[in-house]
C-alpha cells in the first residue's frame, strides 16, 4: 500500500493530508506533482482540498485536464482507490469519475466550520470502520452544494453510492443540518464501482489528538482495513 497525494497549483490541504497519512497513520506517502503522469507505484491516490488553478472557470474544471489526471483516470477505471476531499471532490466530478456537480452554496457564503455527518453506507473502503454516530468534521467551501439530475440521484440511492449525509449532533438528517443547500443532505458519494470517493468535509483536519477531534481518523482507519482485506 502506497499513498500518493496529488499537488495541483493552488492545492492547500496537501500538507495536512500527507501529515495524517505519514505521521499519524504511519503509511508510505508521497506527493505527486500535477504535471507528471507517473503514479510512482501508488495504490491509493488522494486529491486534496484547495483552490486548484484559482478556481478559475469552475472549481476543479482546469485541474481535471492536468497531466497527472491522464494516469489517475485509468487508475480509477481499473478499480484503483481514488479519494477526493473538497476541491478534490470537485475535480472528480468535473472529470466524470463521480456523477453530478458542486454548485455555489445556496447562501452564497464561504462556510468554514465544524459540521456533523453520518455514514449512509458502511460497506465501503472509506467507511467500514466508522461508528454509527454523528461525526464532527469541518467543512471549508464556497461551492459544496451537490447537484445531480433526478435520474442520477435515483441511481445513487439504488446503488448505495451516498456515503455521507449532513446531520445534527444527535445524528438526525434534517433540513436545518444542511449547511449549503446540498441535494438530500449529501456530503459525500462514491462511484458505482465503490473505488472512487468524494466528500466536501475535511477528515484530514480532524485526525490528530492535538486538534482535540479525531472523528476523521475513522475514515483513514477504514482505508487501511479495507486495503488489508484485499491484500
Amino acid at each position: 500500500m502506497k499513498f500518493g497525494v496529488v499537488v495541483f497549483p493552488g492545492s492547500n490541504c496537501d500538507e495536512d493530508m500527507v501529515y495524517v497519512l505519514r505521521d499519524i497513520m504511519k503509511q508510505e506517502t508521497i506527493k505527486l506533482w500535477h504535471k507528471n503522469t507517473d503514479l510512482e507505484g501508488c495504490t491509493h491516490i488522494i486529491l486534496p482540498g484547495g483552490f486548484s488553478y484559482g478556481d478559475y472557470l469552475r472549481s476543479g474544471a482546469i485541474a481535471r485536464f492536468s497531466p497527472i489526471m491522464n494516469s489517475v483516470i485509468p487508475h480509477a477505471e481499473n478499480g484503483g482507490f481514488v479519494f477526493g476531499v473538497c476541491n478534490g471532490f470537485q475535480i472528480l466530478c468535473e472529470s466524470g469519475l463521480l456523477p453530478g456537480a458542486l454548485l455555489h452554496n445556496a447562501s452564497r457564503k464561504f462556510i468554514c466550520k465544524n459540521v456533523y455527518v453520518k455514514v449512509d453506507n458502511m460497506n465501503t473502503a472509506l467507511t467500514n470502520s466508522v461508528p454509527q454516530k454523528a461525526l464532527k468534521i469541518p467543512i471549508a467551501h464556497g461551492e459544496g452544494r451537490y447537484f445531480a439530475d433526478s435520474e442520477t440521484m435515483a441511481a445513487l440511492k439504488k446503488n448505495n453510492q451516498i456515503i455521507f449525509k449532513y446531520c445534527n449532533e444527535q445524528g438526525d438528517v434534517t433540513a436545518e443540518a444542511n449547511p449549503n443547500g446540498t441535494a438530500d443532505n449529501i456530503a459525500g458519494i462514491c462511484n458505482a464501482g465503490k473505488n472512487v470517493f468524494g466528500m466536501m468535509p475535511h477528515p484530514e483536519r480532524a485526525a490528530d489528538e492535538l486538534l482535540s477531534n479525531t472523528d476523521g481518523k475513522f475514515l483513514f482507519e477504514s482505508i487501511l482495513k479495507s486495503a488489508l482485506v484485499h491484500a
Partner: protein, 83 residues
C-alpha cells in the same frame, strides 16, 4: 479564415442561482424593484482560425462541451462572426 466567437454560459434555468438572487435583491435598494429574475453567467470571447464556419462552429462546440461549460449545471450558446 479567422473568426470571433461570443459565448454565453448560463446556469441551468431550473437551478437556484444564488449570485443572481442576491443581485436581484439589491435592485430594490436602487429603487428598481421592477427588475426581477436576474441570472448571472459567463461571457467568453475567443478567436479561432478555421477553413470555414462549419469547422469553426464544431471546434467551439467541442471546447464548450469539454471545458467551458459543465452541462450538468450550465448551458451555452454562441455566435460566430468573421474577423
Amino acid at each position: 479564415m479567422k473568426y470571433f466567437a461570443d459565448i454565453n454560459v448560463m446556469p441551468m434555468k431550473a437551478l437556484l442561482d444564488p449570485q443572481g438572487k442576491a443581485v436581484t435583491g439589491s435592485m430594490r435598494n436602487l429603487g428598481l424593484a421592477e427588475i426581477e429574475n436576474i441570472r448571472i453567467g459567463k461571457h467568453i470571447t475567443l478567436e479561432i482560425e478555421a477553413p470555414n464556419k462549419e469547422i469553426a462552429t464544431a471546434k467551439i462546440d467541442d471546447a464548450c462541451k469539454k471545458l467551458l461549460c459543465n452541462q450538468i449545471m450550465e448551458f451555452y450558446e454562441f455566435e460566430l462572426r468573421e474577423a
